[in-house]
């Protein structure tokens, strides 16, 4: 056995992009591999839960966990890995903030299952079969994880040591994080391993933003041709940049698309969506009630726009669904 620090990568409710982002390190990955010993990486090599359970507590120096927590299995793995890891790092928007899967917190669990297993256009399920948490077939019992009522971020399940933001985190942020871990130069526990200033600070279009910006109309990105040189917000397109933590070097604005907020808020803000809502509404120009209503209709889906990545970690966390009670069984 090598005495290099042991590292684990794990995924929960995620798209796989975070896993790919590790490969995005390109040749830098070789350096990382030289420095660490990867002991867990289900996406690349086969691991069984029992293998992890067999590890000693804190055997893994650090685990990078991506994806949100949506099922009982994910919850359990998060708890196991917390125990087996010295450092647990929430990797990427989903683990950090709940991420895109977190948008499902606008819908009741039953509605989601019904759509996915019965109503989606590509589904043919005339018997309306639903997955069961346990079933017996020819005397053998099989189980499936429980599908929770809501999506949670990693730190809503277990204590998280650090966060790597982004959808996915950029190779640079990952490399910086790994370097810091190896050198033992980590900031206080609970920190987000990215700058604590908003995106505008590193946006190439920063200087083109007028100081007296008043937004007369809001447009969605597909409705206008975005001038590649000008501040996107100044063109009336919602850009989450002012309310989003930097560190990605404004990758989206650099690619002529508005920031959608994947890195979450800076430390001074509790609710990213509320803050950009406040800022944009204040900065729009109409004064008459009807005109205000009309102009703000230009943002047709405030929840999906302002909370695209951070709904589960927002103050409200989930749409209120009064009739629903948590279900013990599927």
């Amino acid at each position: 056995m090598s005495d290099k620090p042991k590292v684990g990568f794990y995924w929960c409710a995620s798209c796989g992009g975070c896993e790919e982002s590790i490969v995005d390190l390109a040749e830098d990955i070789l350096g990382v591999l030289d420095a660490v010993d990867i002991r867990l990486w289900p996406v690349a090599m086969d691991f069984k839960r029992s293998d992890v359970e067999a590890m000693a507590d804190r055997e893994l120096a650090v685990t990078f966990l991506n994806g949100a927590i949506r099922t009982s299995e994910q919850e359990e793995m998060a708890r196991i890995l917390r125990r087996k890891s010295g450092l647990l790092i929430a990797y990427g928007s989903c683990a950090h903030l709940g991420g895109i899967p977190g948008l499902a917190n606008q819908f009741p669990r039953e509605e989601i299952l019904r759509f996915v297993y019965e109503q989606s256009p590509t589904t043919e399920n005339t018997e309306k079969i639903r997955p069961l948490t346990s079933a017996e077939d020819q005397g053998r019992k099989t189980t499936l994880p429980k599908f929770f009522t809501m999506v949670r971020s990693l730190d809503q399940i277990v204590e998280v040591d650090y966060y790597l933001p982004g959808c996915p985190p950029t190779p640079k942020l990952l490399l910086n994080a790994v370097t810091a871990i190896l050198k033992g130069e980590l900031p206080p526990k609970g920190s987000v391993l990215a700058p604590d200033t908003a995106l505008c600070d590193e946006c190439p279009r920063r200087d083109s933003k007028p100081v007296d910006l008043q937004i007369p109309e809001f447009h969605r990105p597909h409705q206008v041709v975005i001038d590649p040189a000008l501040c996107i917000l100044s063109q009336g397109v919602v850009c989450m940049g002012p309310a989003t933590r930097g560190g990605c070097e404004a990758a989206c604005p650099a690619g002529n698309m508005p920031c959608t907020g994947c890195s979450g808020p800076t430390s001074g803000v509790a609710d990213q969506g509320a803050k950009i809502l406040s800022c944009l509404a204040a900065s729009s120009s109409p004064k008459e009630e009807d005109e205000i209503r009309r102009v703000l209709e230009g943002i047709p889906d405030p929840v999906g726009t302002f909370y695209r990545y951070a709904l589960p970690t927002s103050i409200l966390r989930r749409k209120r669904m009064p009739a629903e009670t948590p279900q013990a069984h599927q």
């Binding site: 359970e53 609710d271 509320a274 809502l277 944009l280 405030p302 409200l316 749409k319 209120r320 013990a328």
Partner: protein, 164 residues
């Protein structure tokens, strides 16, 4: 004890409304309502701010998340803001925020913006009575309790998980 279950001495549920009042108009009007002994429903709690423009949407959301059944913002009439235009900013935020809250399942009647000038003590009374009435009709919002119940689906005891 459930912080949501605010009840009166007879045990029936009573709503809790958080009211952010501008120092210069609505807060003064509420004082005037007091000086004029205009009796009204007690189920609201005032937080004084200098301007309705200071009301961060985070405060409104936070109040709901901590158990408020309604949130009221009171500001100066359009054109009358003590700070020129803070109330317009409040108005625009209000429109966007109430739409956002509605899509998060918080009914329109639970969030309200009213222009009440310093002389409109009577309006404080009617607005509050009306808002309490509407919220009584809606019933409790129960956000923290609702979330706490949902968290019951988690396994917090590691022994259940780790079969070592």
């Amino acid at each position: 004890m459930d912080r949501q279950q605010t009840s009166d001495s007879s045990g029936t549920w009573q709503p809790k409304i958080i009211a952010f009042f501008c120092n210069w108009c609505t807060y003064t009007a509420a004082d005037l309502a007091g000086v004029s002994r205009m009796k009204h429903d007690s189920h609201f709690r005032i937080i004084r701010v200098m301007c309705s423009g200071r009301v961060d949407p985070q405060f409104v959301i936070d109040a709901f998340a901590r158990g408020a059944d309604g949130v009221l913002i009171g500001g100066c009439h359009p054109g009358d803001c003590h700070y020129m235009e803070g109330n317009y900013k409040a108005l625009r935020r209000f429109h966007l925020l109430s739409r956002m809250l509605m899509s998060m399942g918080i009914e329109q009647d639970r969030f309200r913006l009213e222009w009440i000038s310093a002389s409109e003590g009577e309006k404080v009374r009617t607005v509050i009575n009306d808002m309490v009435r509407r919220i009584r009709a809606l019933g409790p919002l129960r956000l923290p309790a609702g979330l706490a119940e949902l968290d019951g689906e988690l396994k917090t005891r590691e022994e259940e998980i780790l079969h070592v």
